[in-house]
Every structure is written in C-alpha cells, then in structure tokens.
Symmetry: C2
Subunit: 251 residues, 2 copies
C-alpha cells in the first residue's frame, strides 16, 4: 500500500460520518485490521444501539452500574446515554475527539478526552464501565495492571469495574491460532491483538487491544487491589465484575 492514507482519528471520523448521515444501516463500517493482515468489518450502527440492541452480556453488566460512573472508551455513548437518561451521574472518557464530539451532539453532558491515567483524583467513581469488549483496553500483560491502578486511584470505596471481553482461546483456531502462538513465543499474552481501525482514507495508529481470558484477568489483578467477583460467559465472550478488596482502600 502506498502511503497516501492519513494517520488520524479514523474511529471518531467513522462515528461522526455515521451519525451525521442519520445512522443508515449497511453503509458505515468499523474496519479493523490486525498486524498480521487479519481484517474484519462491523456495521457502525451497532455503536449507537440502545439497550435492546446491546449484546446480553453488556446489558447484564451495565445494569449493575451504580453511583457515579466513568465510561472508559465511551465511543458514541451507547452505554452512557441511557444511564444519563436514568439520572445517573456519568462521565464519558475517550481518546478520540470525534467520538466525544458525537457524544456531545447526542446530549451526553460530561465527557473527558484522555485515558484513565490522565484524570486527577478530585472526582472519584463508584462504577467503571469497560463495556463493548473494552476489557481490551487492558492492552497487555504490562499495561493492564497500570490501568487497574489508575482506576483504583479514581475509585470510591466499594467501587466496581463492569467489563466485557473475549476469551482468545475460544476463537476459531484456524484463523487466530497462529497469531496467539506467535504472541506466546514473544512472551506476550496470547490475545494481545495489535490493531488499527480504518475509515475511508484514514487509519488510526496501531494500538494493542487485549483479548484476555477470565483466568488471565484474575491473574492480572494480583497486587492491584481488584479481584474478579463475578463472571458470565456466552461463547467466546464474557462479562466480568471486579471489586476492590475490603482492605484495598483507595490510594
């Protein structure tokens, strides 16, 4: 491929184009490319669905939100907007300017651009959402505990993380097996996916997105103060609830 495409906010531009066009089905796609060339597409309208259109695991996890909520990787606000409509105090967090613009256009009152590590701890939360498979934002064996530490720093007593993710060992081995094996050979967790999103002429920079099994997730919490207290599974996908141990006071 020649180098005429641009590195930029392909994710936010996709959401903005889809929203500006009135959310037509079958026209705007999240096109996701892995660094071994594996490619997939997903109708972007899915990122605007109300609770009835969410995967059941996301619905189950989101229903457990309480108190003040931080929606990590808010996207177009599909989880935050219904919570806000129910009177919940929710903040949408995303690194994508385009995504936050769409959230604002859709009426989400409070958004912050950045990552959990960028937030000061003046404002703390009771629930952290990592929905829509956003347990992937744990990124890697090294980065995951850093995100968990950042969330602990922002946590009120009794806080919970409500996340959904993908168990890499339950994916189609014919398509993904070699990638997982290569990760292991390099000392990485099997499901550390190096991805970028593409939209029209724009691609995001490459980023890591972690498909972490429930067992690996439990292992990753060691020493972070968090522990997995509940899970539900549906094929390769699952939901997990993490809680701070009673002796793990917020920092």
């Amino acid at each position: 491929m020649s180098s005429e495409y641009m590195i930029g906010d392909a994710w936010g531009e996709l959401l903005r184009d889809c929203h500006a066009a009135g959310l037509p089905a079958g026209r705007y796609y999240e096109i996701c490319e892995r660094d071994d060339g594996y490619i997939s597409a997903y109708d972007a309208v899915g990122f605007f669905e109300g609770p009835g259109g969410w995967p059941p695991l996301d619905r189950w996890a989101c229903e457990q939100a309480r108190g003040r909520v931080l929606d990590v990787g808010v996207g177009a606000g599909r989880f935050s907007l219904p919570l806000q409509a129910d009177g919940v105090d929710v903040v949408g967090l995303d690194v994508s300017p385009g995504a936050l613009k769409v959230c604002a256009e859709r009426g989400l009152g409070s958004t912050v651009r950045g990552t959990a590590g960028d937030l000061d701890d003046m404002r703390r939360f009771d629930s952290f959402l990592l929905l829509g498979k956003n347990l992937g934002l744990l990124e890697s064996r090294e980065q995951g505990p850093r995100l968990l530490a950042a969330l602990r720093r922002l946590a009120r007593p009794g806080a919970r993380i409500l996340g959904t993710g993908v168990d890499p060992y339950l994916l189609d081995g014919a398509v993904h097996g070699a990638y997982l094996a290569k990760n292991r050979r390099h000392g990485r967790l099997s499901g550390q996916m190096r991805l970028r999103l593409r939209h029209l002429l724009t691609a995001t920079a490459w980023f890591d997105y972690l498909f972490v099994s429930p067992a690996e997730l439990s292992g990753m919490t060691a020493g972070t103060g968090w522990s997995v207290v509940d899970t539900r599974t549906d094929g390769a996908q699952y939901a997990a609830v993490l809680a701070l141990a009673p002796d793990a006071a917020p920092h």
Copy 2:
C-alpha cells in the same frame, strides 16, 4: 503490516464462507482496499440477492438479455441463476475458483474459469453481462479495448453487452479527487482503481478496476466494432448497452 497474510482467492473464500454459513446478514463483508489506503466494506449477502434485491440499473440491464448469455465475472451467480431458471442458456465466467464452486453449489449448470480472452470461439453468445459494476473489468485505457475485442470474437451477429458501472467524476471529490488527479498525471483514465479484496487472513493480488464515465466508455469503443446504444443513470452509477455496428461482423 507484517507479511503473514496470504495472497489468494479472498473473493471466492468470502463467497464460500458466506454461502456455507447460510447467508447471514451483517457477518461477512467484501472489504475492498485501494492502493492509496482508501477502504470500504459491503455486506456479502448482497452478492446472493435475487432480482428484487438488485440495484434497479442491474435489473433494467439484465432484463434485456436474450439468446445465449455469457456472464462475465459471474461471482456467486446472482444474475445467471434467475436467467437459468427462466430457461436461458447462460454460462458463468470467473477467474475465482471459489466463486465458481459457489455457483455450482447453487445449481448453475455451466461455468468456465478464466477471462473472456481465454475462451475459444466455438461457443458464441448473444448477450454479454458486465453487471454489478463489472464494466470495471475494462480495467484501463489499454485493457478495455482488448476485452471488447475478445467479446466481439465471441459474439453472434446482433450481440449486445449489458453493463453497469460508475462515473468517477460523480464520486465524492473530497475522498476520491486526489486519486483521480494522480491517475491523470500518470496518463491513466481518472477512474482506474487499483484494488484488492481482503477476507480474514487472505488478500487477492492487486488488480485494476475501471470506473469509466459514459463518455469515456463511448470513446473506448472506437475501432472495436462496439458502440454504446443506450444508457440509464442513477447518481454516479449507470447502465450501458453496447451493440456491434452492422458492418462489424464477428471476426
């Protein structure tokens, strides 16, 4: 991108996977990449639609088929199968083994692997289909007249080409303008798109697909014996009927 993906019949594998899964909407996509990085996706179910699901221009053009028909770039057989069901003698032509396998599974009785230039002239045709935007198979300023010559060689007296295509000058200039201009700077027709299709871990080789305006198409027929005798337009897309001039006997 690392080089672990495979060059192969991504198009045929896509059609086979979609067909084998029972044609679920929203799961299999034709992901098309241009050599400047522009990328798009299209639900593969569309390639299996019956006449009611075809673009109106394809329906209009296909209704004019008569006599023996050669479907150039038959794909999954969406145009050939209804013709065959109506008792038409139709042959499906494609370079993709996977596409031809799907055609056979769906009951298309006669298929040939190759291009029009590969066919001997023992079997001649009254109608040539270049539907589903397959006027793109004209490829380029140089290759287009070769395809037209090959079809003339296979033509019975009074034969017609029934095609649909895209006028590149009516595409969104913000997305495509620079690409068209670069083509012109290099002496190519504006709409000579260098593309490949990707499916899972497989990509086709790069190929040229021509978005040719109706006026350019008319110009391309000079000296080939063919001429454009009818067109219909719908936004950037159009249908064209080409006929052999009375003095252009089959070679």
